[in-house]
Amino acid sequence: MSDKFMPHTEEDIRAMLDKIGVASIDELYGDVPEEVIYREEYDIPSAMSEIELRRHFNELGAKNKSLTIFAGGGAYDHYAPSTVAHLLARSEFYTAYTPYQPEISQGTLQYIFEYQSMISELTGMEATNASMYDGATAAAEAMFMMVASAKKKNRVLISDTVSERVIRVVKTYAKFHGVSLTVVPEKDGVTDLDTIYKELEAGDVAGVIVPTPNKYGIVEDFTGLADNVHSAKGSLAVFADPSALAVLRTPAEWGADVACGDGQSLGMPLAFGGPYLGFISCSKSMLRKMPGRVVGATTDADGKRAYVLTLQAREQHIRREKATSNICSNQSLMALYATIYLSLLGKEGLKEVNALSCDGAHYLYNRLIESGKFTPAFNKPFLKEFVVKTDLDMAKVNARLLENGIMGGLLLGNGLVEFAVTEKRTKEEIDTLVNLMVEG
């Protein structure tokens, strides 16, 4: 029965069966009803050697096309230093389990502590958990936090300028958990604050979720929002792009109680949608409502600095159905990814990434407007992603771009096209993109 993942020789098996006192391995399944034993052949291929497996993956890979990407929509083609992947490949990190035994898990615990510290720096909030699955589920958990915090109130408002892919998930969670979710319509590409203020008057709103930047790439102005939400005894959550928070006004500076979002923008591979990284930060007053793992600093018996999972009494393995959430794991390895990335880029590098992306985006925007084929959609400030309007047949244009190895903008309908530019895009690439679009 031996293969490279199962080291059992015939002698081993014999000796082990003798110790157990049974004649065969089948006897170990003697308590299983005969009619459920599966005797057919599995409908999967025969075992592949490494040579065959590599060949198979290369064949599959050849059916994908690596493109020069000008789209975002929640997944951004940012650059990652070579060092990140090298360190991430250390198997002491990736073959470990959740750090339940702190004495032999200080590596994991310390990087999570550093991760929490860095995300807290970016969001400006006091506490950050060990990470969530993705941005959308983090937003759903932020909704639950605000409802739990408000005790008897059960309604949450979410701005329609939050990404549709996030709203879709939040809606699903709300529907099943029984939260009344109201999507607040947008106005000229930004959150309609007046509608929010009107909704707050009903007195039943536990919390409000708004984005920065929003789904059109616009940097919204939330002046006065936090005060209004707080005087209506609600909480404010800001769904943020953590990379952009190196330069943009932070959730804390907007007066938010919770910050959440997706960490994919911190140099993570696009990887066809995952694994990415959800994050949640909050103010001290919301700490006990926060879901998931949290690492705290402490000392050991000799007074040495050390780290440990803490505030566990909120969690599912202790509180069962009374837990703040059912989440058990985090995206630990992706949190490590973010930590290494942020260590390398550091204080100045992340600002530079934003400056380059923002300049590239503005350069593309200016060229599109100058071409006469595109007009501004909203005339609002933006960072690395923006929307323009056009009469061009964009489906055709995008097909032409694909033939040239380019992923063009996302089509939002009504002639609206959304482009994203990261620090990876060169002036030449942008020129090529524009020429291919406007000249045909």
Partner: protein, 126 residues
Amino acid sequence: MSKILDDLRYADSHEWVKLEGDIATVGITDYAQHALGNIVYVDMPEVGDEVTQGEDFGAVESVKAASDLLSPVSGEVVEINEALEDEPELVNQDAFANWIMKVKVSDPSELENLLDAAAYAKVCEE
């Protein structure tokens, strides 16, 4: 052996209550604090909250356990022990002196549903 005070009433979920006029002072018993170990957090209700006999009004957490607090009386919370916010370990030091909430009771006869010291001692022995 945990301490049990004679002049209090008890719930079998290990809360004690002392009624003075229509104000009931509520805490957890010495037995409960002992079973939980080092208490690190007391989740208390807010003043003005309505509590109901037998339903939870908060929780007590130790490092690896959490226990819901079930209210032994019904009524409106009029005061909470704010000292526990910063020093939850006070409950470990003296569970009877360090009450958790005071409730203006809506139905004093509810106390008849509770145990006296002798009956509660038996619960603890089991």
